[in-house]
């Protein structure tokens, strides 16, 4: 008898300016029980992508917003906020074009 374990997964929506880091995809499914784990999985192995989202201290940069559902994760406990099953995270950066 083998025991199966399920790892929580989250869908991350990636804004157009950052899609170059994920092969042009607009959303990516990653494992993670917290926002931090999911974003770490998203940026794994890509230092420049990680640098784009996080400060050297590992905090989310002030010009990058991440939403769990429709709420800014900074209002939900920050990067350590737990992800419910089937969570959708939306990464958002400023767009300038008009």
């Amino acid at each position: 008898m083998s025991e199966t374990t399920t790892t929580a997964e989250a869908v991350i929506r990636v804004p157009t300016p950052l899609r170059g880091f994920v092969g042009g995809r607009d959303q990516v499914t990653v494992p993670g029980a917290t926002v931090r784990e999911a974003l770490a999985a998203l940026t794994a192995g890509q230092e420049s992508f990680r640098d784009r989202l996080f400060t050297a201290e590992g905090e989310l940069r002030r010009f990058v917003n991440v939403y769990l559902g429709r709420d800014d994760v900074r209002r939900l406990g920050g990067l350590d906020a737990a992800l419910p099953a089937g969570a959708t995270l939306t990464v958002m950066v400023a767009l300038a074009g008009g």
């Binding site: 607009d26 767009l95 008009g98």
Partner: protein
């Protein structure tokens, strides 16, 4: 006794009549005074603050203006006869306290009571705005409000094109265009305000030509200049709504901070490729609506900023976002519905999806928070690779 006179005698026995001076007292106490004469009769003058609703439309439209059937309704015509017939109709409709003003507008004037000359639409305006006039949410009062409105539009480009065209078509009385660019052929894939025949013209002049061709009855003010911290308050001041269709982050921050200073709502939209964002920032009571800095407190450093190289965008994308911006502007001007405030609408053109995220007002916001310290400044151009 004629049939009419017999009927009037019956009505006088049943419908309470009030003298003009008493009607004014009741009006000031909360009663609704309705002038039921025809438009051509009310055009030279009508009691101040009266609702002007010709008798032919009375039952059809009264509930939009007087939803509470217990409110006292005072009906006024020229001499006090038609108002009796109208009063019976409203009583039958379900209004509990309907009275007729004895002697009508003649008695009102003779008593020296306050009169106003209602703004009127000419025949061409009635024809032009017919689809607005037939909607109770806009109607004649709303159309007058649009005609008296002033909107400043920053950028006569991709977003600015549909915004300017729809606001001009809607009859926004004064439209101020601010842009320092010239029309190039590469603009025409999306900037539908301009045309091949106007290549090389200043965008604000080309835009002015197009807008006055669409609606020659409005005023279009063209400022062929770039917004900066020294001119922004002067250029945006005196407008009811500012619409930000600019194409760079420094201008977006400057417009936001200036609108906060002026207390004017800022209708924001931004686009890139197949994606767009739109929201209404500021313009409410302090702390009520967020501003752009509640969403993004500061611009990214240049190495992380959006590219300043000509960014690709699907030609129709500014149409999708710009028309939403125009709709929000008209809503703000008319005080209709719920503004797109406290939330940001995201459009994903490839998926054909709209999603919404919450943007609450940030009490620590450097621009709109109670201790806001932002001064108007020209942020150096921030450009990514």
């Amino acid at each position: 006794m004629s049939l009419k006179d017999r009927r009037l005698a019956e009505l006088r026995a049943r419908i309470p009549e009030v003298a003009a001076a008493e009607a004014l007292d009741l009006q000031q106490g909360g009663a609704l005074l309705v002038d039921v004469r025809e438009d051509e009769e009310t055009a030279p003058g009508s009691p101040a603050g009266a609702l002007r609703l010709p008798r032919g439309f009375l039952e059809l439209r009264i509930e939009d203006k007087a939803p509470d059937p217990a409110r006292t309704i005072l009906l006024l015509c020229a001499g006090g006869t038609r108002s009796l017939f109208a009063a019976e109709d409203l009583a039958r409709l379900g209004y509990a306290d309907v009275r007729s003003v004895a002697g009508g507008f003649s008695a009102w004037k003779a008593a020296g009571l306050p009169v106003e000359v209602p703004p009127t639409l000419d025949a061409a305006q009635r024809e032009r705005y017919r689809r607005h006039l037939t909607m109770p949410e806009v109607g004649e009062a709303g159309q007058h409000r649009l005609l008296r409105s002033r909107v400043a539009l920053i950028g006569a480009g991709g977003l600015g094109s549909p915004i300017a065209l729809y606001l001009a078509a809607a009859g926004v009385g004064r439209l101020t265009l601010i842009d320092d660019d010239r029309v190039e052929r590469s603009n025409l894939q999306r900037q539908i305000l301009h045309a091949e025949s106007r290549l090389g013209q200043r965008k604000v002049e080309s835009g002015r030509t197009a807008l006055l061709d669409l609606n020659p009855t409005i005023e279009v003010v063209a400022h062929d200049t770039r917004l900066d911290s020294t001119n922004v308050l002067e250029l945006l001041g005196g407008h009811d709504v500012v619409v930000d269709g600019s194409d760079n982050l420094p201008t977006r921050y400057l417009v936001n901070d200036a609108c906060q200073r002026l207390g004017v709502p800022n209708v924001y939209g931004a686009i890139f490729r197949f994606e767009g964002q739109v929201a209404v920032f500021g313009g409410g009571a302090p702390g009520e609506r967020p501003c752009y800095r509640c969403l993004f407190p500061e611009p990214p450093p240049s190495e992380f900023a959006p590219s300043c190289a000509e960014a690709g965008v699907l030609g129709v994308l500014p149409g999708v976002i710009g028309t939403i911006m125009a709709a929000e502007t008209v809503k703000l001007l008319l005080g209709l519905g719920e503004p797109l405030a406290g939330r940001l609408l995201l459009y994903d053109g490839l998926r054909g999806e709209f999603t919404e995220i919450a943007v609450p007002a940030d009490p620590d916001c450097p621009s709109c928070g109670p201790g806001g310290t932002v001064t108007l400044s020209d942020i150096a151009a921030v450009c990514g690779a």
